[in-house]
Each structure stands twice: as C-alpha cells, then as structure tokens.
Symmetry: D2
Subunit: 359 residues, 4 copies
C-alpha cells in the first residue's frame, strides 16, 4: 500500500537503513530515451551528506547499480531498477532506540503499526536514506523531461526565520535553475545565504537543529496538463511531497499567503503576448482547476527541524512503560533543508513526468 506510487509512471521504493540494500523500480518509462547515468549520479551527490560543514561528516558512497530496464544506454520500456548496497552499517549505536522512542521520529507509531517487528535500526524503512532512491528515480525522469525542454529547480526559501525573497515565480528561467543546481546551498540572494548558514551553525553549537522551506519551480510545462479534482496537479505533487520524511506543509504559488490577499490582487489576470496566453502574476502557482496554465508550476514545502538533536528530550521507555529521558549521541545534521533540495526537485520530476505522460 505504501511503497508504490504513480499512475502512468510508478515508482516502487524499498529497503531499510541498515538492511542489505535500498532500491527503486521505475515502471512505465517510455522506451528509447538515453539516460546519462553520470548526470544522474551527480544529482545524487547533491543529496549526499558530508559535502559541507552544515551536514554530517559521515560519508556515503551511494553509487547506484542499475539492474534492469536499460539496454545499449537507452530505456527499454521495461521497469528500470537500481539499488544501492548498504555497506559499513554499524548497528551498535541504535540499540537504545529499540525501547526509547525518539520524539518526532517514526519510532513510536511504527512500533505500534508493525507490532514491534519493524527494523528499527537507523529508522529502518523510515530512514531519510531512502530518499536517495527518490533522487535516482527523479534524476532519470529529469533526463526525459529535459528532452521536452521541461526543467525542475529549487531554492532554499527559508532557514528558520531567515527568508530568501528573491524568487520570481513568473519569470524563473532555465538559466537560474541551472545556476542553483551548481550550488551545495542553493539560495538566490547570496547575502541571505550567509545568514541562513549562520543560523544553522548557531543551532548546531547549541546541540539543536533548524528547519526551513524549499520553493520549487517546474518550467515550460504546456497549458492543459493535469486533471480536475482528484488527480489535480496539486493533489499529485502534494501526495508525492508528503511522502518525503520531514515535510509538514505544501503550498502552491502564494499558498497560505494568498489568504491574506483580496481577490482583486490574488487573481492572476490574463494577457496575450506573441500568440501565447500568460498571466501578469502567478499567485496560483501555474495551476487552476488542477490543470496547468502554462505558467511555471511553483510550490513550496515546509521541512521540519531535524528531530535528532544533542539536547536531552522527554520520552517514554516502551519496555517498562515509564517516562524517561533521551540523549541522542553521534553526529547528526543540524539541518537537512539543503540536502532535501534535490529530493524535492526529483520527487517532483517523477510526479510531473507521470502527469505529463497521462496525456
């Protein structure tokens, strides 16, 4: 029920943090597309930990191995599968976590749902590590979207209360998207980027963590893509986004901010230019009635502060059913927002290719 998503392009994600391997099956890709797996691997490195001082220094060698679906460098139309072997998975650090539920992690509800049989080591199937396969699948989909001149890019809109206001949802271009992709901390306003990083370092010093907001644009989608009602572009993208651990909000265009505008300001007036119908503003984020307008599809996701913090926390011990105190040891990301950027982009790429191929 839970590990497969999609209508025309389906992905099936499997694995646990400390199991043998994690992987993804991508079903429904059209045949005959050349996939540059070096480019895919670069995309995956954007998510890797240890790339800068704001992430954990653990090094993951997440080199995916393609098992099926590619022949002579091209998609075959059969399911494309890749796995990443889990190596060097030291399970010792996690023994305490079997009984002490980490606040804001999946530990407790997972234990209840699976009656204690879930692999709890490192979060098991709930681990953020599985998002590496979202990136793999999405990078493959980006390669196909690229052939249709469609691009997906994101910037960090906020870290804590520090906000990057420079995004332009009407004119966002391929060039801006490609520049953002080159950066390990993709922010449009460089001065703000520095403040954001200070915010992260300050949280780390205090043994604490911070969250933030990622804003994404998908450009060059034609008008008329998507569905009314239950398979609206918003429904499909939000469904995918809320599948990413730590996402607690999704909004399109001005999102929650649109509720502060009067209709006369919120409505995106039309005009025609060179035979193409456009809107002056893009408060609706490129989607009306569930269907694309031809403007950039723009959405933001809220990423909660990393739940694993060094500070002591109140918890319960499920063994003796008593209140307890938890102190999480080891290195943990004080912020995962920048690492989540390619995850959000790639998950969106999967969803958008799925919508697009529905015709």
């Amino acid at each position: 029920m839970s590990s497969i998503l999609g209508t025309k392009v389906k992905i099936s994600v499997f694995g646990e943090s400390h199991g043998e391997a994690i992987g993804v099956v991508i079903d429904g890709l059209p045949a005959g597309h050349t996939i540059d797996f070096d480019w895919v691997y670069e995309e995956m490195k954007r998510r890797s930990p240890g790339r800068n001082k704001f992430s954990t220094t653990r090094v993951e060698k997440d080199v995916p191995r393609v098992l099926s679906g590619i022949f002579e460098g091209k998609t075959t139309g059969a399911p494309l599968t890749a796995i990443i072997e889990n190596t060097n998975t030291n399970s010792k650090d996690y023994s305490e976590l079997k009984s002490k539920m980490r606040p804001s992690h999946a530990d407790y509800p997972a234990m209840v749902k699976y009656k204690g049989f879930n692999d709890y080591r490192g979060g098991g199937h709930f681990s953020g590590r599985l998002t590496a396969m979202f990136v793999f699948a999405g990078a493959v989909c980006k390669e196909i979207l690229k052939e249709k001149n469609i691009f997906v890019g994101a910037h960090i809109r906020a870290i804590g209360k520090v906000i990057d206001e420079k995004f332009d949802g009407v004119n966002i271009s391929r060039e801006v998207i490609e520049e953002l992709r080159q950066e390990s901390f993709p922010v449009l306003d460089k001065a703000v980027a520095e403040k954001m990083q200070q915010e992260i370092l300050s949280a780390r010093e205090e043994g604490d963590s911070v969250g933030g907001i990622i804003e994404t644009a998908i450009i060059n989608l034609p008008a008329g893509v998507g569905n009314p009602m239950f398979y609206s572009v918003e429904s499909v993208l939000a469904h995918m986004m809320f599948s990413i651990p730590a996402v607690k909000g999704v909004e399109f265009g001005e999102g929650f901010g649109i509720t502060e505008l009067r209709g006369s300001k919120a409505n995106d007036g039309y005009y025609i230019e060179d035979g193409k119908i456009k809107t002056y503003s893009n408060n609706n984020g490129g989607v009306l009635g569930g269907i694309t307008t031809g403007m950039p599809v723009v959405f933001s996701v809220a990423i909660k502060p990393t739940p694993s913090i060094a500070l002591k926390q109140n918890t319960v011990n499920v063994n003796n059913e008593e209140n307890d105190v938890l102190e999480i040891k080891g290195r943990h990301d004080p912020c995962i927002v920048h690492r989540a950027v390619p995850v959000v982009e790639c998950a969106a790429a999967v969803a958008i290719l799925d919508i697009l191929l529905q015709g």
Copy 2:
C-alpha cells in the same frame, strides 16, 4: 483518472454545474452500518448557500436521492450512490464566459485540456457545486467513524489577516467539535468571529473577495494508523484536500510555522499517563513517519479568495485572441471559507475512513 479516489473506500464524483445531476458513488463501505440520512442532510445544509449574509442569496435545494447501497436503513456493502438533480439552471448568464477566460478559474486550462469540448456553463465539472457530493460522502463516512468514537471538526483559523488563535491541537474535544458544528460561521474566539465577518462585508462592498484558512482536527484515532512514505496520512489527506477547488495550501500541525522553531521546541516530547502514551505538544499534527501517534490529527488548508469578483479584470478573449476586460455579473460569494468548512471536514472523513479500514 480524475474523478475516482481512494484505496479501500473509493469515491467517484460526477456531474456538471448545469448538467442533469451531480452525484457520488461510494465504494468499499462495510456492510451493516446504520446511516441517519437526516443527519447527512443537515451536514449538507451546512455547505448550502443562502444561510447567512456572507453567502450568495441563491437558494439550492440540494436534497440528495440515494440510489443504491442501502437496504432496510443499513449499508449493504455494495456501492452507495446518491445524486442531486440540477433544477432551475439558468444557463444564460454564462454565455460570455465561453470566450472570456475568468482569471483564477479553471476556464482557460480546461478549455486547452478538453479542446473546447468541456461544459463551460457555471464552471461545468469544475464547479464548486460538486463539493456537495464530497459532503454527502463524508457525512456518510462520519456516521461510520462515529461508531468508532472518531470525530472530525473544523474552525475558521483565518479570514484575510484576521486570525482565530484559540485552537488547542493537544486537547481538542468532541464537545468543542459539536459546538462548532452548530454554527454557520464556526470560530472559537467569538470576538474574532465578528472581525472576520466585518472583513467579508468590507470586501463585498468593494466588489472584492477574501480567502482564509480552515483548521481541522480528527480525534480519537488510535496510534499506528496509516503508512510510511507514499500512503502516509499526510499524503492521503493532502491528496484529498487539494482535490477541493480553491485550496492552495495544506499543512499538518504547526506546518509552515514549524520551520521557524528550533528542533528542541518543535519536537513533541512523549510522556505516559494512565498507560497511554501522549505528547506534551502536537506540533507534528498527530502524524509521524506517515502514521498516527494517537494525538489529534490536525491540519490546515488555505482557501484562496473567491475568484469571481465584481471588479473589472484583465483577461483574454480566446475567440479573437485579444486582450480584453471582464466584468462578472450576478451574485457571488465574497467569501466561501465558512461554506468550505463542512467540505473540508467531510472530505477528510472519507480519507480517514479509507486509511482506517486499510487495517
């Protein structure tokens, strides 16, 4: 692709604003549940226009007719279908709209997608009128949830910039939910309610409109309900919410606000009381790792300002492909937020029953 949603409980919604009838098929309901259709009809009246001065004075007699799935007052296990006949549908007012695209309505993307064959009268299949069937389906599901002591209730969290801060996501009770249900304008802080209504009247006087935020709680769900990843409670609820016209954002618990908190504040610490595991706060909205924690499931949706306003708007005429100006006539709701409250509640009830019955 677009009119059917669900896994175990599926709903199939059909109809157009000015067609013969609108309706819903509910598939997968368990057999043997008594449904009080008077109660269901009351629930539908909560959505009806013309109940107070903040809504259009059009009167809809949305009396549903049950066609199948009920025998001797109880669900049979076979699909439960209801329709509402469309009567008195004057199509004259809509003729101009065939060529002039209403900003922030589905007119333009729908025309492109369906190559001009969609029924454009009154928004056709995209009309907010179809949400009457969401309410019918959800009210039926609420009746079944009630037997399991599960209740769904909502309040208006914001109209424009006026905010009701009184909601308590940890302690929200059945009593509060039932009180809110009695009100045509459900706000927890009565002083704020008055300011909200002034905001709506002020917008109407100016020929403008306002949006707002609806906050919903589902109480008494046990811990361990839902799924990791792709069928997380958040994914399923958000998918459903973004199927409601005018919804532009969905967030759980503190949602976007959680990004402004440090982890130490955002994390919901556990404690045990009378053998039941609870959290001190509920910033995660009762869901971790996609699965319920046993705390109230809390989420908010952003409703954009009603797109139909009396003020002149820039648009294009798709017949002659020229820029044009639109002036929408007739009576329109200056605000649909209060009418959307039962829609959000009932759509949530369908999704939650679906999740719950997946076992």
Copy 3:
C-alpha cells in the same frame, strides 16, 4: 474494491436488482467524441429479455438516462454517468430466498461476506440486471472505437454440446460482425442455430437450463497494443470477462484446444503482404507476450447454465441450519447465452478502449 475497474478508462457500476436504480460512471473518456445514444440504446435492447421465446417474457424498459459527461452531444472529458430507474420491482417473490440459498447463485457466499446485510432481493448487487450497465458503457466505448475503425463482434460458439464451427479467426470482417449484430440469436452457421434453439427449448420443457460458449473478435487493432506480464491484453480482458456473472472460463485463440496441438501446428507463422506483417493462422488469438500482433483479438467465454431452474434442488436453510429443498418459481431464462452476447462484446469494448488509450 469491487465496483470500479480500469486504468485509463474506468467504469464504476452500482445498483441492486430491486433498488432505486442501477447505473454506471465512465471515467477517462476523451473529450469531443459524438455519441449516438439511439445506437447505444439499440445495443442495450440486444440484451433485453423478452425479445424471443428463448428468454423470459418479463419486459424491462431499460431506458438509460444520461446524467453527466455529455455537452452538445459530445463527450466532455468529464465522467459520463447513466442510470436506469428500477420500476415495477415486485419484491414479494423473493422472500423465501432470504433463508434458502439458491445453488450456484451468489446467495450463500454473499450472505457470509456481508453478514446478512446485503440486499438479497432478486440477487441484489449480484443480479445479472447490472450487466445492462456494462452494455451501456461498452456501447459508448464502441462508438469511440468505431472512429478508429475498430469493431467488436461475437457469435454463439456453443449451446450445450451443439457447436458452431464456422468462425474464422484470421479473416473475421466488419461485415460479418455487423450481420451478427442484427440477429437476436447470432450464430454463423444457420443450421446449427436451429439445433441450438431446440436444445434450449428442450431444456425449458424439462424445467432445466443450458449454458454455452461465446466467441468474440476485436478487429483492426494495430500491432503493439497492450503490455507484457501483469497488464497483458489477456489479463485485462479476462479480468473484465470474469466480472460478468455466469462466466466460468476464458480462453484466447485456440485456448484450451491449443494444448492438443504440437508446437509446429500451434505456432502462428509470419508472412508479409503489402507491407503488413500477418500470420497464417491465429491460434494465439492475436496476442503474444500480452501485446497485440495486429491479427484479430479472439477469445471465448464459457457461460454456465442458468442456475435458476424449475426442478427441485437440494439446499440448506440458513435460519434453522438444516437441509432443505428449493423449488424456484416464476419465469426464468432457460438460457442466457444469447442475451450475454452483447454483454461480452461491450465489456470487451470497455477493456479494449482502456488498453488502447494507455498508448
């Protein structure tokens, strides 16, 4: 789970034999197709009882009412819904059936599954009457297939042991299909048709019933349609066929008969004619590896003898949990095979349009 089927084109069938109405929602039809509802209604009359002496003399006025999805005579792309009101449903005859389970009907397993809450009158949701909506949906799909020069037609291959051998699965043409459609008892070899009818009359005289085999061809499907493995043309068609009450077998091409051939006879050798690749024989029924070959798609379904017979039968009474004897009164079809012909054709049309639109 049970009343909705399809991938791109989905149908949702609802209703009970003695409920308010039966109906169907067809989701995913492309916009802009003209549907001739007179033709659709003719197709439905092919299924009606009372057309000849081999059927019950009950007269059903199964005039469907279209509720949605059609605007100015064309499909809109929104769900197309039709219902048939149930009138004159005398429930008195069925009271005994609440306790005495009719052999080979759904009564007993339905009672167990739905814990006695199912509408048992006239078979309820299990009634063959619901196949009227299969015909409606399929007739609409046939209209769209017709625009692509694709036709679906069937003949009665067998009644009891009387067999029509005249079918030619390589050369079956539109003309033959249209001729068969004109007949209330469609058999290719007219001499055999007479023997079949004698077989039916003889069964009726004895208070008994007969079954038979329906063989269907879908012509002019291009090669390359369908999917390997789980969504093979065979899987999708068989799934649909076994949804029709009384179907106990489905086979493609030579079907079970192919097991009596050596490979050298069974294999369909290729040749090329006027640039088109064809096969000399069509033992595989136009499908290899789940995908069409460009030859006619040919399949047969086994229809069991009508379970309702006048003869006394052994049964149990579920009230007192004792062995009992059942004597079914009233008029019943001694054979439903000829009435099932349009049901099989139309159900196939829905499945084939679904497969075709998946692209």
Copy 4:
C-alpha cells in the same frame, strides 16, 4: 503499468533474461511472519530447468538474495525484495533473433510497442525466466497462508491429449497437495504420467513441442472471501494467471465443460454437515458471485506448446521486410508444463493472499 499487480499485497517484477539481475518487490505483507527461506528456495528449485530429461539441460543457479523487508527472520511490514543475479548469460546465440521474429514469441509485438528499443536477448523482459520471481513471491505468500491452514497445490491435468482424470475437486486434501509437491512431474494417476512423458519425448525427437493443462486447488479458504463483479476471485486469479507467459486459457471448476451440462447437473447443491455448509459437487470451483463458498477453489490453465522448436518455421525478417525461414538452435524445453506447475501455484498464492488480506 505492466510490472506491478495487486491491491493489498502488490508485487513488482523486474529484469530481463540477459540483464544484470531479475527481481521482485512484495509490498503489503503483514509484519511478524517467519519466512523459511530454505523452503522458499526448494519451491524455486521445483521450477528450475535441468531437473529431469523433459527439460533443457541448462543449469540455472537461481539463488535469490533478499535485500529488504526481513529483520531477525521475520517480515517487517516494509517491502520484501529479492533479486537473482544473471550470470553466464551468453548473448551470442540471440543475434539472429533481432531481425527474424520467432513465431508465437513476443518478439514482433514487443518490437512494435517499444519501437525496437526493447532488450531482445533471450526474450528480455518477456522471458520465462522472470517467472522465477513469481515463484519466490508466491512461496513467501504460501508461508503466510500456511499459518492460516491454507494450501495451494496443482497437478498436470493434460499433456497434449493425454489426460489425468483422477482429480477430485470436492475432497482434495493437504496430504495430496504435499505428495504432489514432492514430484518433479506431478500427476495423480501414475500410469497416465508415464504416457505424458512419452508424449514429451516423442515431441522432442521430432524437434517439436507439446503443451498441456495445469489444474490447481486452494484449500481451506473460508466462505465469504472475495468480491462481487470486478474483483471477483475469478477475475483476480485469472488476471494473475494470464500474466504468466504461455497461458492461453483459464477456467474455474468444470470451466468450459460446464457448458455441456444441464443446470440441474451443473448446480452445486448444498447440504450441511457438522454445522458446516458444503456442496455435493464443486462444478463452480469454489466461487459463486465472485466470492468463495468454502469449498476448494479449483481452476485450470492452458499452457501452449513451447514456441521454440527445432523445426523450420515461416517468419519475416523485419530488417529487409521479407518473408524468411527461421531455424532455432540450441537446447529448448520440449515442454514447460511441469516446470510451470510451481509458477501457477505460486502466482495463485500471491493473488489469494491479496484477496484474503482485503478482509
């Protein structure tokens, strides 16, 4: 669209005959079940080639490697994934097949569908080799069914025209199923088994091949399992069966044979014994109205003669678009029916567990 099947338990099968690996993801397994992978591997060996003189002498070391979903020997509730590495895949023998379409193989329709980009080596994704993963998945499901006292077993009903008549669909027991499982050529009537084997050897000597029929029983399913109409037990099982390469027919109980019976013989009369409702005969194969009756679920599948034969065959060369002659070299099974027995059983086990867990 094509490589994922199921409702509650979903399987996703991937790989190509000569690719890196083949594999399966099983989603939706309940947590906490011990799986004996030695038993699973034994089940897979039942399908292996080279076990007797009726199969190819190629030796496959199909040792599956479990990548996820198992922790401390038990299912975790997360997707269970296994792969088999493809080793020693000599692609040289297949070069001619790129241009010459093998009759009754998927070569031609696959080439059309995938525009020539499919991996044609050894049949690629269409290879019978992928059925190893059906067996893996089904063996895991059998382990879970076993805990509920449900068993799945099959015998060879026919090879060519040689028929095993000894099957008893009313009284088939666990003991019989377990005996059949011990045999590499499972037939109930040992004298018939010998004739069947002679038939295979005779076909091999002539460079030809034979097909046959496999009859399967699933015992101890309670009454009331399944669904009416679109997710009938027959629909779900037939959908799965027609996903197995070479299956051309599926029938339940007496199947096509039931059409030769009068209703009075075909109907399965009820009686009650020790408080349990049973039927005297089981012509309907344990399913009425799509729902189990509590009698054994019995079905047969027709397996066509192996398409790869040594004899010369007519074909076309798609390169020069001319008629041609094909002579397939190398060793090929003259009959795959006995190797298909565990495939049919295990595919059925997946489908039945899926139906059962739907509740």
